[in-house]
């Protein structure tokens, strides 16, 4: 498969970064083509600019060059893998901004000219994988309804291939987790992605 791994964490020596490296290595080791996007390292801008918003529904994609490159990667990929720390029960702002700025009309969907209904352009995506860490426990995450998981496995999944499969690999209660638990989680991510 062709996997695009999108990663968001400011620190190079965080557990999230280890997970990012593990994910890309495991996917490449299993014979998949892999491209990793480290949003913080690229200095990706999170907020959509006024110009981008004005041309949001227009066809002329005369936006910043990095957006065209990212859009091309989305068209190329058939698997999207997201690696991030859960903050405020969801994606870090920089990754939420990636969805908003890259997955725009003309890339992820378009509005039907007559009915104005959303028509997907992401039907080539056959896998969506989320890899994340939570400060909260599993129970708390469920009570709070897990906004990040809903964003990726429902809102984004809805536009992907009809038989697109999803996977959610998460470590809960990271604040009170032990080194062994974290290492075991990294190993499980490695194993799971090797048989994507």
């Amino acid at each position: 498969m062709r996997a695009l791994v999108v990663f968001a964490h400011p620190s190079g020596d965080s557990l999230s970064h280890t997970l990012f490296r593990t994910a890309t290595t495991a996917l490449a080791g299993a014979g998949h083509e892999v491209v990793g996007l480290d949003l913080y390292a690229e200095g990706f801008r999170a907020a959509m600019s006024a110009d981008e918003r004005r041309s949001y529904h227009l066809d002329d994609a005369a936006g910043p060059a990095e957006l065209a490159r990212h859009a091309e990667l989305v068209r190329w990929a058939d698997a999207l893998v997201f690696v991030y720390p859960t903050w405020w029960m969801g994606l870090p702002a920089i990754m939420k901004g990636w969805l908003e700025r890259v997955l725009v009309p003309g890339v992820a969907f378009h509005l039907h000219p007559r009915t104005q209904k959303v028509v997907s352009d992401l039907r080539h995506i056959r896998r969506v994988v989320g890899i994340t860490t939570y400060g909260s426990s599993w129970t708390q995450v469920k009570v709070m309804h897990d906004a990040g998981r809903r964003t990726l496995l429902r809102a984004l999944r809805m536009l992907c291939a009809r038989r697109c499969r999803t996977a959610w690999l998460a470590l809960y209660s990271i604040d009170t987790s032990t080194d062994d638990q974290r290492a075991a989680f990294v190993t499980s991510v490695e194993r799971r992605l090797a048989r994507l």
Binding site: P10, S14, A46, E100, A155
Partner: protein
């Protein structure tokens, strides 16, 4: 009441900006003291930096100046009103960044070392209202699970006063709406904001007479 109105939209001539203007005028009409925080207009930086991530634990003292200023505005408020377009199911990145960077340890909650649960710290906030627009219809948002709604009504709510009241004021299907529907929503928001206590109060079902019902 002291109201912090937080809004997100890159364009000053957008529908969301019109909704925000209606909300502000409604709040003034209701005799409230309003602090308008226009995240795009103030060029808020949404990305949590490496330094902030490293200093996550020590609390507010180690935060950058802009975060301290935003924290003070949050701690001043008795009501928080969010005005934003729902993008990809939730708050725009700039508003998500406001949560990531300002609603942190030492401001919004306290997490003692080794503890499993956070202790809420925003007891000053007794009313929490979200005013939002959805491009897609209610049905699609229901299938998506409304992640943005959960963040406001569950998570933010959990860090406010234990008896804080919430209200969700949403216009669904904006992509296919007509002008009359949008104007009706603007008028509904203005009326709702003038009656802020009533719409979030114990008898929170008290609705403006002619507004379209946004069931929650």
């Amino acid at each position: 009441m002291k109201v912090l109105l937080v809004s997100a939209h890159p364009l000053p001539d957008s529908f969301v900006a019109a909704v925000r203007a209606a909300a502000v005028s409604g709040l003034h009409a209701g005799g409230h003291e309003v602090d308008v925080l226009d995240l795009d207009g103030e060029r808020f930086e949404p990305c949590l930096s490496l330094e902030e991530w490293r200093a996550h634990r020590p609390g507010i003292a180690a935060k950058p100046a802009d975060v301290k200023a935003h924290a003070a505005r949050l701690q001043w408020a008795e009501a928080v009103v969010l005005v934003y377009p729902t993008w990809w199911g939730g708050q725009p990145a700039i508003m998500k960044g406001w949560l990531d960077r300002v609603w942190v340890e030492g401001v919004a909650y306290h997490l003692p070392p080794g503890a499993r649960r956070v202790r809420p710290r925003l007891r000053n906030i007794r009313h929490l209202v979200a005013v939002t627009t959805h491009g897609s219809p209610k049905r699609i948002n229901a299938v998506e699970g409304e992640p943005g709604k959960r963040v406001v009504l569950r998570q933010m709510r959990a860090l406010c006063h234990p008896r804080a009241r919430t209200r969700w004021l949403a216009l669904y299907g904006v992509d296919r709406s007509d002008e009359a529907q949008r104007l009706a929503f603007i008028r509904r928001i203005e009326r709702s904001m003038a009656n802020l206590e009533a719409i979030t109060g114990a008898r929170g079902r008290l609705r403006p007479a002619a507004g379209r019902r946004g069931r929650t």
